[in-house]
Symmetry: C2
């Protein structure tokens, strides 16, 4: 008799956004004339930019010719893309991240969902509340969450309230937390961490031997130059934090699928005998065993985001979404609603 993973039965029946999509589709089918603006999942609406499609056409041609065809690529991503990421996302801002610390993937959702696999089942997990559902659900599936109460809160999860009353800043917990999921700019509140706030978290993690899982998929929407775009702007963060970044909202890649995760070489956690084990090595082992890399064509498209044309075009995309956010924020405030976000993030709360 084969038994299922019983933790799956603790999940809601379906994934939040799959649920919303079904409802929107049903409404659209019942109301064929309706011009629906979906405010559910944070999807993009503008097409891929010319620099990206030109690079992808070129890559398709290469894949169709015997002298330039490429089969299996490196699981970690092609060096040309990892070099472009390092140069434009980190080194130009004075952050010392290296190519072998970058892991290209098919999406931050996959990476934030899978990263918990390399940690012990007994790790205590702390999650800002409200937040993107994958942090919690991937830990429910793995058995780290404990049991849900009547309100759907899980017994082993440390929920860190991030609401208007505390300026959307989750305070460091009094209890021991091993894995801390932070998201800035935040999905869904649109809040961002200031440099002192983020430094407080890095200090907490260093002092308590915790690991921060830092989701900054919306970093490009930060307008205020004093707000950190990467956790590695904080000294010492390379010893306590993994960072997740994506091309989805940066360059309209939600249907193209490309992201990357940074696991610095100095970052380690404890083995069963107290020895320090490199998380870069563990994540590399996980990815090379269970993942086969991102399509070559997609990686060439992502590389083109960093070309001069690509940077200009991408910047215009983000301006457009931020203009939309401003319109929504103004409209909501004008209608008398209390509303936040939309200034350094596309999200309104």
């Amino acid at each position: 008799m084969t038994f299922i993973n019983p933790n799956y039965l603790k999940l809601q029946e379906s994934y939040l956004f799959a649920d919303i999509k079904k409802k929107v589709d049903a409404y659209g089918a019942a109301n064929p004339g309706a011009d629906i603006i979906s405010l559910g999942i944070g999807d993009v609406t503008l097409p891929l930019t010319p620099a990206v499609t030109a690079a992808m056409h070129k890559a398709v041609d290469e894949m169709g010719r015997g002298d330039s065809f490429r089969g299996y690529g490196p699981e970690q991503g092609y060096l040309f893309l990892r070099e472009a990421v390092v140069r434009h996302e980190y080194r130009e801002s004075g952050i010392n991240i290296h190519e072998d610390e970058i892991f290209v993937s098919d999406g931050s959702k996959c990476d934030v969902g899978n990263i918990q696999e390399i940690f012990d089942a007994a790790c205590r997990v702390a999650i800002a509340d409200p937040v993107y559902p994958v942090y919690l659900e991937s830990n429910i599936m793995a058995g780290r969450a404990g049991e849900p109460d009547a309100a759907g809160h899980f017994s082993n999860i440390i929920y860190m309230s991030s609401v208007a009353e505390n300026g959307f800043f989750p305070a460091v917990p009094h209890e021991r937390a091993d894995l801390i999921y932070l998201c800035s700019p935040n999905n869904p509140t649109g809040a961002v961490f200031t440099r002192p706030q983020l430094a407080e978290w890095v200090e907490y993690a260093a002092k308590n031997g915790a690991v921060i899982l830092y989701d900054s998929a919306y970093a490009d929407y930060i307008r205020d130059p004093s707000i950190p775009r990467s956790i590695y702007e904080i000294p010492g963060a390379e010893e306590v934090a993994v960072e997740f970044r994506s091309f989805s909202k940066k360059a309209g890649f939600t249907g193209v699928r490309c992201a990357y995760t940074v696991v610095p070489r100095p970052l380690a956690a404890s083995g069963p005998h107290g020895e320090r084990v490199s998380l870069n090595r563990l994540w590399s082992r996980r990815q090379s065993t269970k993942f086969t890399g991102v399509p070559y064509i997609v990686q060439r498209g992502a590389e083109a985001v960093y070309s001069p044309d690509g940077q200009r075009e991408t910047s215009a995309l983000i301006d457009y979404y931020m203009e939309n956010a401003a319109i929504i924020l103004d409209g909501l405030k004008g209608a008398g609603f209390e509303a936040y976000g939309g200034e350094n993030a596309p999200y309104i709360w």
Copy 2:
């Protein structure tokens, strides 16, 4: 103090094929004139066919225009591709598989690595030996394998010998097995299961309440019409088996990344109270939570494999690889080696 998943320390230092690639690269760098034929990982060498690249160019254009751009797609894959798979891979052969039983993914490696997540940690795993390393390694990572002995064999794994002496046919085990990994055509031996052999396994699984995880990524290389290409050719298999299929070796997609997994609706396993739980529903929940679907451009390329031109071109690719296999097999036998495979599989053993 954050602890790592201690099971990772039981793995070999690096993934087999990553290891081989490093050695081949190093040899190539040291011997720049060498014309290396790598017989390591089963990669393809011929470029994508014209039908596939034409479909991908069209899809890139669609993604570059506002009126045809697509953002997040369905996690399970676009219906156009699932319909093409059902029609050409199953219904045309009289196999009754439905569109909502197909899960499009970025590779069979990912799917065969991830499928174990939906099962209980205490499941007993049976694996043919020798076989593709991901079946074992994903279960080591999940803690199901137990401890390795001096020879590297794990205490909780049932190894099913598949060698020349038993015709490469793993006999059904005497012990209880919950999850059974079978691969036909086999990677690496090139052996295939006959219909009576496969029926024996389906009967074993039905009798013992076990689940067969059937990897038939090389189904298109089967030349003998009496050999089953899908496990669902065996009556009752839809109640005991998951099937993994890929475009990698069918259409040269190793660098493009597209595959699919079939989880039939009648397939169930036990919940903690003995209730039957649909594996289709669990896999759907897993994929919608931790995966975001395959690039639209890639799915259009995969769909084109089933167009009349695509089918003709793909068939020519497979003929070419099978001709290579025949040359290698003849060469080895001519040189006095005992060699198997190469008749219904690209592999030689």
